[in-house]
């Protein structure tokens, strides 16, 4: 037993060393990971970092409106005198939260359906896949716009709307994994041992098809953040005084020609966040796909 444990630990160390090696080979992925780490820290410690946390909640000081960036207001102030730096930092919370929730929700809808379609096959497969076809025949974002409009304008509904238009991608992905895995001997063996279908699907197939899902999810994080910001920009997502980046950009439209800082900073943060997730997603794809791995 002890010997087993030792080998296992050794393998773990080897594995960790391998990952570090891969990261060294791909500086952009490392940069992406570091940026995401910083953003997560900003989101968690926002009340400690933001100099005027009450401004993020919407307290206004009209006498200090549209001040340019300076020592007391690092990113300047908006049209209601609120500190842009504090609001942009708090915006990290919303965007990362939205990304996480939407991706999890889409996975929660898409993965079980994909497993069922791939493993059961036949009529179940046919029905589920035709439904995904219909959802995928809308251009990206359009369906989210329509659903968000009809559900009512707030951030929660925008997230539901994005998830509803996002899940079919995961269904397709996991279905193709399930189809190729279910032919494999270890699934046959599990079946022969009388393992329940449910357990085979979630325990054996799902666990073995995680890597493409993780890659796809990390790539989607950036797109989800952009889509939700776009909905807010159209007035469908976050509502004032929420410090959401897309919403800030929308209100800044009336002022940005005289107060450029108002639109520059929320946009830069959004760009960097999405860029970081895209770098990491790109890197993960290369790690997981031996054909693309540049070693």
């Amino acid at each position: 037993m002890i010997a087993f444990k030792e080998t296992a630990e050794k393998n773990m160390n080897k594995k960790a060393g391998y990952y570090i090696y891969l990261l060294k080979k791909s500086p952009l992925t490392t940069a992406g990971l570091i940026i995401i780490g910083i953003l997560v820290a900003l989101a968690i410690f926002a009340p400690l970092i933001a100099p005027y946390p009450q401004d993020a909640a919407g307290i206004t000081h009209v006498s200090e409106k549209l001040l340019p960036p300076g020592a007391s207001h690092l990113f300047g102030t908006d049209e209601l005198g609120r500190d842009m730096f504090s609001r942009v930092i708090y915006g990290t919370r919303i965007s990362l939260g939205v990304g996480t929730l939407v991706v999890c929700l889409s996975l929660a809808i898409g993965v079980p359906l994909g497993l069922a379609a791939g493993y059961a096959g036949g009529i179940i497969d046919e029905v589920i896949m035709r439904i995904t076809d219909i959802f995928l025949s809308f251009p990206p974002m359009l369906l989210a716009i329509v659903i968000a409009t009809f559900l009512g304008r707030n951030l929660t509904n925008a997230m539901i709307a994005i998830a509803i238009s996002w899940w079919p991608w995961y269904t397709r992905l996991i279905r193709s994994e399930a189809i190729s895995l279910k032919q494999r001997p270890f699934i046959e063996a599990a079946k022969a041992m009388g393992t329940s279908r449910f357990k085979i699907m979630f325990r054996h197939i799902l666990i073995n098809s995680w890597s493409p899902i993780i890659v796809q999810a990390s790539m989607d994080f950036g797109s989800v953040i952009l889509t939700s910001a776009a909905l807010s920009f159209l007035g469908l997502g976050a509502q004032p005084p929420q410090p959401e980046w897309g919403l800030m950009l929308n209100t800044s439209r009336n002022y940005f020609l005289t107060a450029p800082w108002y639109s520059v900073f929320p946009g830069i943060f959004m760009f960097i966040t999405v860029l970081a997730f895209n770098f990491v997603g790109d890197g993960l794809r290369e790690f997981m796909d031996p054909k693309l791995r540049r070693l």
């Binding site: 025949s137 359009l142 009809f150 159209l234 897309g246 439209r253 999405v274 790109d282």
Partner: protein, 336 residues
């Protein structure tokens, strides 16, 4: 070949029914009462009830879906709640400016992305290759509307060389009247020899088209690089080089022509993304197209207009995908 086309069309029609069912069911979960919106906020309960009958909202669901489908097929897409005008007619007036913008954006993307991709492929791992990789990741990471604002700041506010928005300077269409043939302002003014309008319209389309192009530029550069690299490894390219044919001829006549297929596919598929991107860009540049129409429909909860746009865009997307497949099917090497 014909069998393939017929099958694709049949699937397309089934999907259209699915789309119409989704748009129909979305309007069903509407929390706000469309009848109340139709008659306005000062209406009495009686007037609302009457509007409910007029709009057919009192009938059972399936009947309503059947009515909805027949009306759609007859070109009766309902009246806009906001303007009380036929939705289909309104959509047709707002479509040409949006198409003009999308086509200009695609041309921009091709004109910038393709040379970048070619340069990256021929000088692999050089600085242009690095630039190509950066542009392709950055292009898809830009929040489109933010990029538009930054371009407005640079070219309007600081350099004073391009207009802020709109499709033409105000008053210009009064000074030199425009004849409308296609609804495409650039084509119309060019054909009628109205150079003043043409140049003005051109200066107005540059910024929104550039903003729209940001996303496909990266895709085009990346795809043309990848497929060119693949083709350059083929035996016939090696043979052509061994014959001593000029490198330029090898690259542009032999390799590029065969590498264009996937590039065009990527560009055409990204047009679907661009279509929804125009919703943001048109709002920003005050471009009088479908996107702007959508934004106002969203703000006023004009649900007939929104479902109309959804169906129109879904049809456009379907045709686009079909067209891409058919163009590729014309290639004798692709067989179905």
């Amino acid at each position: 070949m014909w069998q393939y086309i017929v099958r694709r069309l049949a699937i397309g029609i089934i999907i259209l029914f699915g789309i119409s069912f989704i748009t129909f069911s979305v309007t069903m979960v509407l929390p706000a009462d469309p009848a109340a919106r139709w008659v306005g906020s000062r209406a009495t309960a009686e007037q609302i009830a009457q509007a409910r009958v007029e709009l057919g909202l009192d009938k059972p669901l399936l009947t309503r879906y059947a009515i909805y489908i027949t009306n759609l097929l007859h070109g009766n897409w309902g009246l806009s709640i906001r303007t009380h005008q036929p939705v289909l007619k309104e959509l047709m007036t707002y479509l040409p400016p949006t198409l003009e913008l999308i086509i200009a954006g695609m041309l921009f993307a091709l004109a910038l992305g393709l040379p970048l991709g070619i340069a990256a492929a021929t000088r692999r791992d050089g600085w242009l290759d690095q630039l190509c990789r950066t542009v392709s990741v950055a292009g898809v990471s830009f929040p489109t509307f933010w990029l538009g604002m930054i371009l407005q700041l640079i070219f309007f506010r600081y350099l004073h060389i391009l207009p802020l928005g709109d499709r033409l300077d105000t008053m210009l269409d009064m000074l030199s009247p425009i004849k409308h043939y296609t609804g495409f302002l650039l084509l119309d003014s060019l054909f009628s020899g109205n150079i003043a309008v043409f140049i003005n319209a051109l200066s107005h389309i540059i910024l929104p088209a550039m903003t729209l192009a940001a996303y496909p530029i990266g895709l085009v550069a990346r795809q043309s690089r990848a497929s060119l690299l693949e083709v350059l490894n083929e035996d016939y390219v090696k043979a052509a080089r061994a014959y001593g044919i000029k490198e330029r001829t090898v690259l542009y006549t032999y390799a590029l022509r065969n590498a264009m297929g996937p590039t065009i596919t990527v560009l055409a598929l990204s047009a679907g993304y661009s279509l929804t991107n125009t919703f943001l860009i048109e709002a920003l540049f005050n471009w009088p197209g479908l996107g702007n129409y959508t934004s106002s429909a969203i703000i006023t909860m004009d649900y007939t207009a929104i479902t109309g746009i959804t169906i129109l865009v879904a049809i456009a997307y379907l045709i686009l995908n079909l067209a891409v497949d058919l163009i590729l099917a014309l290639d004798p090497r692709v067989r179905y």
